[in-house]
Amino acid sequence: MNQTAELKPASAISVLAARGLQKRYGAVVAADDVSFNVGRQEIVGLLGPNGAGKTTIISMLLGVLTPDAGTITIDGIDLAAQRSQALQHANFAAVYAPLPGNLTVIQNLRIFGMLYGIKNLSARIDDLLIQYDLTKFCKSKCGVLSSGEQTRVSLAKAMLNKPDLLLLDEPTASLDPAVARDIRRQMSDFATYGGGGVLWASHNMTEVVDVCHRVLFLSHGKIVLEGNPKTLPEEYGKRNLEELFIAVAREPLALELV
């Protein structure tokens, strides 16, 4: 069952360093002094209840939301100062950001491949179509694909530039269990053998235990817990990660080490 989370990060070098990220929307604090790293060959789970600030943090890391304070470096490049160069090293797939439905799979991959400056783009697209089992849909418009197929297209887009930092926001939310397992394996292989780091936001605790080396628990815009998803529940007297999640969501301040 457990596929790759046993593998320790082979490198402690950070592909992502977020320091003191702050974001307010009026009176609402979406991110409050958030600092964390993602290392090479590491998959970090970003967990938290709805509205905890996960998507705000991912938006800041993607350069589509400016933090009120704090810094982000991707592969050592300051995102604020060198946005274009930094984003060359990152990519993402999110359930709320499907690719344009009025373009075919191959057209979308070609356009985003050009935006990310991929060399030998046609060969790279062919590889990804095979890897994500999309060859038979390559000339289909993305809008007519099932949600699971669209997710696979988004993941193929996210892998176009073999990113050093891969941001995934509920990447398996619309996939059937068999495909979801394949995707988890592929993402784990990407981190293990590709050398990139992954930040993985998910509400599926089984999945998180399965793939993540480390998790960050967010509540009200703050990181309230951090640790190994296998040992963390026990440290706080909970039976599993789901129980710990519920405890964090309901009473983050009442959590105590046992």
Binding site: V64, L87, N102, L115
Partner: protein
């Protein structure tokens, strides 16, 4: 500036147009409607007018040039609206693409689509109604350049408005040419306008084009200094529109509008 990224934006628009009859037809339909309507009107005016004035280059030529301005403006906004309609901002703006590259892509897309419309208009107006741009001499080149640049400026300005106020604000953009046209004297000399309207006209580059065009047809020449003024204003508006779009983009990134565009407001 990475031209491959700019080309990606142009290619995206080409794919969309190539794959959709609904996007191809508007490049021609309104052109045909305008040329037919104004062509027969000018032919009728020529037949009933006692003067020796030829209304074909005067009115039909002006309408054709104004249509060119509208095609350029809509070329920019339509390419932008494709990202609005596809809710593609998050995907697009999370790439290494810069604002300059994105805007350049929109402008080049507009050049391509507006040129198709222009050639079609010219051929139709020439074959059916005998209109020839040769009547304006070489000055047709700066005339079109001014209209092109003003169309680009208005298109980018319109994109910034929609980026700021959300998809529903498209409504503000479509009527811009209709709102501008009374002030620039497409069909009549600026002298017929009341004083306050003329002050606005002097700030609008197309005014100098249409005044110059009428002057050439009436006297055979025009004051080229006024055309330089129009061209300078057009360049200024392009720069201002780019700055305005960039400012709105930074506002959208600061407030989270890009990340949550469909909500239309995050304030």
């Amino acid at each position: 500036m990475n031209f491959r990224r700019t080309y990606a934006i142009v290619l995206r628009h080409f794919y969309l147009i190539r794959g959709s009859i609904a996007r191809v037809m508007p490049l021609f339909i309104w052109v045909v409607v305008d040329i037919i309507l104004w062509g027969f009107l000018t032919r009728y005016l020529n037949s009933v007018s006692a003067s020796s004035l030829n209304f074909v280059p005067m009115l039909l030529g002006a309408v054709l040039l104004w249509d060119f301005f509208m095609r350029v403006m809509q070329g920019v906004t339509m390419a932008f609206f494709e990202d609005v309609w596809a809710r593609n901002f998050l995907n697009i703006f999370a790439t290494p693409l810069t604002i300059a590259e994105y805007l350049s892509g929109l402008v080049i897309s507009s050049i391509a689509t507006s040129m198709i419309g222009l050639v079609f208009m010219l051929v139709l107006a020439m074959l059916v109604f005998g209109l020839s741009f040769a009547a304006y001499g070489l000055l047709i080149i700066p005339f079109m350049l001014v209209l092109f640049m003003f169309g680009i400026a208005m298109g980018i300005f319109g994109c910034a408005i929609v980026l700021r106020f959300g998809p529903a604000s498209e409504w503000f953009i479509w009527p811009i040419p209709a709102l501008v046209s009374p002030f620039v004297g497409v069909l009549y000399p600026l002298a017929v306008l009341p004083g306050w309207m003329r002050y606005i006209s002097y700030l609008l580059p197309p005014s100098y084009v249409f005044e110059g065009m009428r002057s050439i047809l009436a006297t055979g020449n025009m004051d080229v200094t006024t055309l330089w003024w129009g061209l300078s204003l057009a360049v200024l508006y392009v720069v201002l529109a780019c700055c305005f779009f960039t400012g709105i983009y930074h506002y959208a990134v600061r407030t989270g509008l890009i990340a949550r565009y469909s909500s239309e407001s995050v304030s």
